[in-house]
């Protein structure tokens, strides 16, 4: 029953005490010096990690198990924690020693021998031996993770002694050294991995969860902690056998939005913002921040699938008409504000075989003539695409521009943006006549593009386009993989690039530049074709 009358309730002593405690706590907090809080907006100091390198990026980590990891952030992580036998120089071309001091191959490119550096050791102090190399690569192949294709050609790995690794391939593969240079082929400590449940058999391997909290590599950093969707922390490997890295700790913070990355960089709460898009970079200024624009090897492409349901009218003539109808410079402007360039073939600018390839140009008159000759007056095509924003390219913006360009020659695209899981289901079942996707390299050899985009029997896009295989491409690739001479190999890849252009199935629409955004005191910012960003090369000064 409610009280009707009475004197006002007195606040009890307990309540007063609780209130005082709360007020007191806030007061103490408020009075804490800003210099040690690391909290206020614009405050660039930190409480316990003053010298840590903080990186803002949208992480896409699928795993931290070196045999299962496959993502852009994984490339950074693997390079920092699990060293490869061979490294990549600043020019993104020259191979340099890492765990291996020397390597050689036979003339047929089927046998490769690596000599390990006897001073190389893991974070626990044990030596890196040939047994570790054999185990790492056999586990990568055995678990059939996404990067396992990189070791798919290995037939046998022999370890005549602790310091020598001899690899026999099932076929000639001149790209093998470039593949060895990929971060995914990093070497793990066999003894430590096995002690924590690792095997080379996917049905018995139990180590993935352990690898999410621990590491077993020989790199300059070790894993300190990982919280999915929040942060990845690396700490300096104090037992590192090479030159000690500059930072005691590296923190990669989950920051998906480019705008937030920019704000945090400008206020100094992070040192590097990794996914700054052109529109966000446009307004960045100030002496504390450096933004450099460099060409990348990433690209976004249009894919035409004549074998997909509804794509039957995508004959070679119609496909060529589509290629000629696109306004490539306009696409670069529309998607990345001009911060990029058109790309001639599915092998990106800068890779072997692309020298001298003419950039694609719009030719509406010729496109119209081709369509008229093919008897096509109006054509409506399903254009389902994954709703993504990759490398600063918004797929919806790009597809709308493509739609506008094609409308000028009487081709109507029915745009249908979907989640990538829905897109994946559709492209693997019915196929999609016109779609859009992206590609970033795993290593530095052109063969990966031919194996993915070429019309080779069973290749990814031969399967998705349902187009007939092109035997000429398989022959050219075999020759390139057997060729030792770089110049001759480049010629073969150029022939492959031209053959893929002639297919008119994969049409690159933009090769976006990369924005390297960092605080001005960060030195060594770079873009690596194999590894994205090599943390050991960064310093503050």
């Amino acid at each position: 029953m409610a009280r009707v009358v009475g004197s006002p309730q007195r606040i009890s002593a307990g309540r007063r005490l609780a209130a005082l405690a709360v007020v007191g706590a806030f007061t103490i907090a408020a009075c804490s010096s800003d210099s040690d809080s690391g909290s206020s907006a614009g405050d660039s100091s930190g409480s316990s990690s003053d010298k840590a390198l903080v990186i803002a990026r949208g992480m896409d980590v699928n795993s931290l198990d070196p045999s299962r990891a496959y993502c852009d952030t994984c490339q950074i992580y693997m390079t920092a924690v699990y060293e490869t036998l061979i490294g990549l120089d600043d020019d993104n071309t020259t191979l340099v020693p890492r765990l291996a001091t020397a390597w050689e191959s036979n003339a047929e490119q089927t046998e490769f021998t690596f000599t390990l550096d006897p001073t190389a050791k893991f974070a626990d102090g044990s030596a890196v031996t040939s047994a570790d190399v054999k185990y790492s690569w056999e586990r990568l192949a055995g678990l059939q993770g996404s990067a396992s294709y990189l070791v798919g050609s290995i037939e046998a790995i022999d370890t005549p002694d602790d310091g020598t690794v001899k690899v026999t391939l099932s076929a000639s593969n001149s790209a093998f050294l470039a593949q060895v240079n990929a971060g995914y082929l990093g070497i793990m400590n066999k003894k430590v991995a096995e002690a924590n449940g690792a095997t080379t058999d996917p049905t018995t391997d139990k180590a993935e969860e352990w690898f999410l909290a621990n590491s077993a590599g020989s790199g300059p950093y070790t894993l300190k902690s990982y919280a999915a969707g929040a942060e990845l922390r690396l700490e300096r490997n104090d037992a590192y056998w090479g030159a000690a890295p500059a930072f005691p700790e590296v923190i990669i913070k989950e920051t998906p939005q480019a705008v937030t990355q920019r704000q945090q960089l400008e206020e100094g709460s992070v040192d590097i913002a990794m996914q700054i898009s052109n529109d966000v970079a446009a307004g960045m200024s100030g002496s504390d921040v450096v933004v450099e624009q460099v060409p990348s090897f990433n690209f976004v492409y249009l894919a035409l699938s004549p074998g997909a349901a509804g794509g039957e009218e995508l004959t070679p003539e119609v496909r060529e008409a589509i290629r000629l109808a696109l306004d490539y410079d306009g696409l670069v402007d529309a998607t990345v504000g001009g911060a990029g360039q058109p790309q001639a073939s599915p092998i990106p600018n800068g890779f072997a075989g692309t020298d001298g390839l003419a950039a694609p140009k719009q030719d509406l008159a010729k496109a119209q003539d081709l369509l008229t000759a093919a008897g096509v007056t109006t054509l409506t095509l399903d254009a389902t695409y994954p709703s993504l924003n990759v490398y600063g390219v918004d797929f919806s913006t790009a597809m709308q521009k493509v739609q506008t360009d094609l409308k000028a020659v009487g081709i109507e695209l029915q745009l249908n943006p979907v989640e990538i899981s829905v897109w994946a289901d559709k492209i693997t079942t019915d196929g999609i006549p016109v779609t859009m996707l992206y590609f970033a390299p795993d290593h530095t050899d052109s063969s990966q593009y031919v194996q993915y985009f070429g019309m080779l029997e069973g290749s990814q896009w031969q399967g998705w386009t349902r187009a007939d295989p092109v035997p000429e491409q398989a022959d050219l690739l075999d020759q390139a993989l057997a060729e030792q001479d770089p110049a001759a190999r480049a010629d073969l890849y150029q022939a492959l690039a031209n053959s893929m252009i002639a297919d008119q199935l994969i049409i690159p629409v933009v090769n976006p530049n990369l924005f390297l955004a960092s605080r001005s005191d960060i030195k060594g910012m770079h873009y690596s074709a194999c590894c994205n960003l090599d943390l050991a090369r960064l310093s503050r000064g």
Partner: protein, 326 residues
């Protein structure tokens, strides 16, 4: 309750499997979808090579043993993921609810005492905006104004990117930092809570204030209020001590359910503020069709509603002696 949760899990399981989408893309990546060896290994590992019914019974059997499965994307047990992320969501939800209740009651009282005057109209407008404004838009707006432009408050995340999280005791950064005497981190975490909690709690302000206003106006017409006023008690005493206490009874139920809604509905706020809680986990799981994680979050939501329902009943009985628990 267990039967209800099993029902929820069954429905979500079957609906998610009927979706015309392929979860393999989040496991092997789009580049390997045509790689038969990789696809076969992934299907075998995650049980996707089994029929839906086998998958269903396996999942239910494991669920009855407390195993919610392993997330496709984080590669960790879903139960561990939820355990790690729940404190962040609870901390945000408690703060949002506290903000919502305190301001909602205050605004409701003010509106009732100044009925049909300017204050009442302004309070109604404020409540209406809070209830109808999309959280993502409000979040972006306050981030732009208070973080990017004015620099008064910190941006996304639970603490400054450079700061180290306090030692894990409860998982609430505010409490853990206080317990460990780390007042700098306490201040940091409180400041980081202000914007997301305000955005999330604004909707609660709207609901509570309108409810309190209506209840108070009912109470004002009661005889005991007229008697109290006739006895010469100050208006503040009449309202705060007598009328408000009775007017708050219906609010208890609403607040309890609002808590559950906030807990499961913090999705957009957590996404905008990069808040590593259950909401952002749910978004990521949904986008990647991470079945185990989706079902885990749904079960958690179901548990939250059931518990808050129970707490609401108990609280109501405690607050109103006329109601007896049986």
């Amino acid at each position: 309750m267990p039967l209800l949760l099993l029902g929820i899990a069954s429905i979500v399981f079957l609906v998610s499997r009927l979706t015309p989408a392929d979860p393999l893309v989040s496991i092997v990546g789009e580049r390997n979808l045509n790689n038969p060896e990789v696809v076969a290994a992934a299907k075998a590992r995650w049980g996707l090579d089994q029929s839906v019914f086998v998958q269903y019974f396996t999942y239910m059997k494991n669920l009855l043993h407390g195993d919610m499965g392993t997330s496709f994307t984080t590669r960790r047990p879903v139960l561990s993921d939820l355990g790690d992320r729940l404190p962040a969501t609870l901390e945000l939800t408690f703060c949002a609810l506290s903000f919502g209740i305190l301001f909602g009651i205050g605004l409701g009282v003010l509106a009732a005492r100044r009925r049909n005057r300017l204050t009442d109209h302004v309070a109604r407008l404020f409540a209406l905006i809070g209830s109808s404004l999309p959280a993502f838009w409000a979040g972006l707006l306050v981030l732009y104004v208070f973080y990017a432009k004015l620099g008064w408050l910190p941006g996304p995340g639970r603490i400054n990117p450079r700061a180290t999280a306090p030692d894990h005791i409860t998982g609430f950064y505010t409490i853990d930092s206080l317990l460990t005497g780390d007042f700098a981190t306490f201040k940091d975490s409180v400041l980081h809570l202000v914007l997301p909690a305000s955005v999330l709690g604004w909707g609660v302000v709207g609901i509570v204030s309108r409810l309190v206003r209506a209840s108070l106006l009912d109470e004002f017409s009661m005889e005991y209020v007229r008697v109290a006023r006739a006895m010469g008690l100050r208006e503040r005493t009449v309202v705060n001590t007598h009328a408000l206490r009775n007017a708050l009874l219906p609010t208890i139920t609403i607040v309890a359910f609002t808590f559950a809604f906030l807990l499961t509905g913090a999705v957009l706020t957590e996404t905008v503020f990069s808040w590593p809680g259950v909401g952002s986990y749910a978004v990521s799981a949904s986008r990647k069709l991470d079945f185990p994680a989706i079902i885990g979050v749904t079960i958690l939501g179901g548990v939250a509603f059931l518990i808050t329902n129970l707490v609401s009943d108990i609280a109501y009985a405690l607050a109103d002696p006329r109601i007896r628990l049986s």
